[in-house]
Assembly symmetry: C2
Homo-oligomer: 318 residues x 2
């Protein structure tokens, strides 16, 4: 008989989706703040949300990313023959990532919920099944994409080769890569940012974008940070979304002037990211981006981070 | 004063352009037959073609790929201050690659012409300038693309990140990769094969294609040949061009059934390529592809090769 832990706490990192030209296919986990979920056995059936983590997030388990993912995990675990020690699972969410910011917050909540629940159930699910469960949540609250989920779960920089079936490639992460996130005081709903994407793309642009994705992978593998910077050249999403983010163009230009390797929109925005090859440069880039937003009278919160190579972490309390 | 060689012979390998999903951006040099150009000083001004290498190829230096590239090299060398020992350069071309086959023959002719001429001039031009000169030729006879030229010149598998400016990345080549080329007895002009490409591509297809290019680069870097095979999934050029190549679908299916990692159209076709992870498998794939074409009453010539890691070679005769 399985010896279940009483409660499990899982933390999942923020991530940059749509990394540069990698719309829907490239994502990068970043160090620092993350979403945390405490899962514990309870008498109510199914999954209940004790604390959604933010006043604006729903307590309805059918609508909260953590609970949707947890429910999918629990269902798969029960389907696999797990005999649970109680009727259901209660989740307490600690939301550290900002809402509608483009930092993969809904993905981090889903991953933390899935990972905590899986550990509570004795870890019956392999990685693909966890991604599958998280995808149910992400589809409901943000859109059916793996480019935030995969790095938040697995850590590092991930390429989503295919969603059907799920085929995710963890890429090399070079030493000495720093990431600046500048989050202007604005919210941008993923649905709104997706609505402006072009449905059809001219062939030259599509092929150029494909070459940039290839160049990013090559640069990560060889550690050629200059090439990485040149390949942060998104001609599909960035031109469409830049007008939705006041101050973005100024912040990007300021980042490049301050020595950033490249800069673009993180996920659906409005967070803007920049890459740097040295810590001092990253700090200068962060200051320059903050000043650029401020010049448009926009408050922003900036932070310097690195690639999170670990992904979701679990603390199990037996 | 420069001591010029009297004549130079250069050989450039065949190449697979449009490698799988890498339309216009990924190319691979292959071992075996290549085009050769002998360049020597002569009294006629400019560049003259002594032997175009094939009865159907023009002797007019303004129309022959080798001579166009040689002329561009000579012009750059003269512009750089070279003082030539004679009025002009005469080229003798030995054409080993089939015409309009999709094996990068025009690129190999251009590269061999450029490299031979550059060596004859004392090698004043760096790689980018040589690519630039070859691009003049390729633009005239086939189309302005580097995906055959770059691997034919540099060897290996190349990613063309950008043409303006030229930015070519040489990718890792894993051990144990075999390539089968099956050339059905058919000619397909590049212009005709380009005319069927869609001008606009729906976003999902474009992003899927970009992910496959990234996955190919990742697979080459890590040596994951199974991933390489899964990523040979071209949803832009192959569906448009397959109807132009009788027997292609059968040959591809036969290759996969015989154990190929992946298969698609080489360049603009009609040559069909397949990848294999072992020599015995490659030989079985070659036989299967030949039989598949034969089942449609199409004669084909098949060969098993490897990635040519060297690119253009020079023999200088002082």
């Amino acid at each position: 008989m399985t010896d279940f832990p009483k409660h499990v706490r899982a933390v999942a990192p923020a991530s940059i989706g749509n990394l540069g030209p990698g719309l829907d296919v490239l994502g990068c986990a970043v160090t620092g703040a993350g979403d945390a979920v405490m899962a514990e056995w309870c008498d109510a059936p199914g999954v209940v949300v004790r604390d959604p983590g933010h006043p604006e997030l729903p307590a309805d388990p059918a609508l909260h990313a953590s609970a949707i993912a947890a429910t999918a995990v629990l269902r798969q675990a029960l389907g696999g023959g797990m005999r649970p020690p109680a009727s259901g699972i209660a989740l307490t969410v600690r939301k550290e990532l900002p809402l509608s910011a483009g930092q993969g917050g809904s993905a981090a909540s889903a991953v933390a919920g899935a990972v905590a629940t899986n550990a509570l159930c004795g870890s019956p699910l392999p990685t693909e099944a966890l991604l599958d469960a998280c995808l149910v949540a992400e589809s409901t609250v943000a859109g059916r994409h793996l480019d935030n989920l995969a790095p938040s779960l697995l850590g590092g920089i991930c390429l989503v080769r295919s969603m059907d079936p799920i085929d995710v490639v963890r890429l090399s992460v070079p030493e000495g890569l720093y990431i600046v996130l500048a989050h202007p005081a604005q919210r941008l709903r993923t649905a709104e940012a997706r609505a402006v994407l072009p449905g059809m793309i001219d062939r030259a642009t599509a092929l150029h974008q494909a070459a940039q994705v290839g160049a990013i992978v090559a640069a990560l593998a060889s550690g050629d940070l200059a090439l990485l910077g040149r390949a942060i050249d998104d001609r599909i999403a960035e031109p469409a979304r830049a007008p939705l983010i006041p101050g973005f163009r100024e912040a990007k230009a300021a980042a490049l002037t301050a020595g950033a390797l490249g800069a673009s929109i993180s996920g659906a925005g409005p967070t803007t990211f920049a890459l740097a090859g040295e810590l001092a440069c990253a700090q200068a880039v962060a200051a320059a981006m903050e000043a650029a937003f401020a010049s448009r009278a926009i408050t922003s919160s900036v932070r310097v981070c690195e690639v999170d190579r670990v992904g979701a972490r679990v603390e199990v309390d037996p």
